[in-house]
């Protein structure tokens, strides 16, 4: 299947139908692929080691294909940032946390507050590409269980690390502190050259974004507090 994701021509030679559905908004014809990818039996077996047995072969293939693309992204000034990312009122906001912490939940609380003016670019795995030093977050088909994604992009302005807490508060954090958190949410590619590229892109991303820690519960009041802080501070 030929598709265009994050302004890259990507040819995916998939064996299972699962990917066909999620790729629909990204299908595109082209003569020359930037990235051609398929998942071998060994790739699927490696991916299965970290997944529940209940996942279908098609889902496992989808994750394996995503991972292989992520390893190629540094060649194109890109990397994958595990985050729920959206645009709102001129901001490009990424919520980051380990799986299961509640980044999608908190984003959906914001969605309740702001309705259609909040546009979810990607609920789980946006690709980031550096263009003239600006980190742009692009929608991808790999977007978490809610299936929220758009074939669109937003310039990242705010990175927010989500922490579960009984108390709702949002505090700015230093770039030095954010780096450690950020490294947990990217796929580190193989090879020195690509590792250096990703680290340099993370450096540019951190320098271009405001950095926050959001302590929150799952009530709508949590979103009121975090949105009140992030959108009000100029």
């Amino acid at each position: 299947m030929k598709c265009r994701i994050a302004q890259l021509n990507i040819e995916i030679n998939n064996r299972f139908d699962y990917l066909a559905g999620s790729l629909k908004p990204y299908l595109c014809d082209f003569d020359k692929a930037d990235i051609t990818v398929s998942a071998s039996d060994a790739d699927l077996a490696a991916e299965r080691e970290s997944l529940d047995e209940s996942f279908s072969d098609g889902y496992v293939e989808s994750i394996a294909v995503c991972r292989k693309i992520c390893h190629r992204l540094p060649e194109f000034s890109g990397y994958m940032l595990h985050s729920a990312t959206f645009s709102l009122e001129g901001h490009g906001i990424g919520f980051l946390a380990k799986s299961g912490t509640g980044k999608s939940t908190h984003m959906l609380l914001w969605k309740q507050l702001f309705g259609d003016s909040l546009r979810v670019i990607n609920g789980d795995k946006p690709f980031i590409r550096l263009e003239e030093g600006i980190p742009w977050a692009y929608g991808t088909p790999w977007c978490g269980k809610e299936g929220l994604n758009l074939n669109d992009r937003v310039a990242l302005t705010d990175l927010c690390f989500i922490r579960r807490s009984g108390e709702n508060k949002t505090v700015p954090i230093s770039p030095e502190k954010a780096v450690s958190y950020l490294l947990e949410q990217v796929i580190i590619p193989e090879g020195s050259a690509n590792i250096i590229k990703v680290l340099d892109m993370l450096d540019a991303t951190v320098k271009n974004c405001r950095l926050w820690e959001i302590y929150c519960n799952t009530d709508i009041s949590a979103a009121e507090v975090s949105a009140g802080t992030i959108l009000e501070v100029k």
């Binding site: 780096v179 450690s180 020195s192 250096i196 680290l199 993370l202």
Partner: protein, 88 residues
């Protein structure tokens, strides 16, 4: 003493980050963040310098006595060994 892996050491937002490069046939996801002097010493170990060479470089870089330089380097090298990141 040498590190068990080869590392890429890079500054990200003024914080030194060391990431293990995949060894042949063995994947690793080792990521280490380091403070200023730790990053300095780690970088030299990663380049293959021995203890005395590192002490000399440390003395040249920081405003410390030779004894203080040796103490800082020895302390950090001991931590590397204890953490399993390096071997004799």
């Amino acid at each position: 003493m040498k590190l068990k892996n080869q590392y890429v050491v890079r500054k990200v937002a003024d914080k030194a980050v060391a990431i293990a490069v995949e060894k042949e046939g063995e994947k690793t996801d080792g990521i280490i963040t380091l403070n200023g002097t730790g990053a300095f010493i780690f970088g030299l170990v990663n380049e293959g310098l021995d203890r005395d060479e590192i002490v000399a470089k440390f003395f040249g870089e920081y405003e410390v006595t030779r004894e203080e330089a040796a103490r800082s380097v020895d302390g950090f090298l001991a931590e590397l060994l204890a953490s399993g990141l390096a071997e004799e």
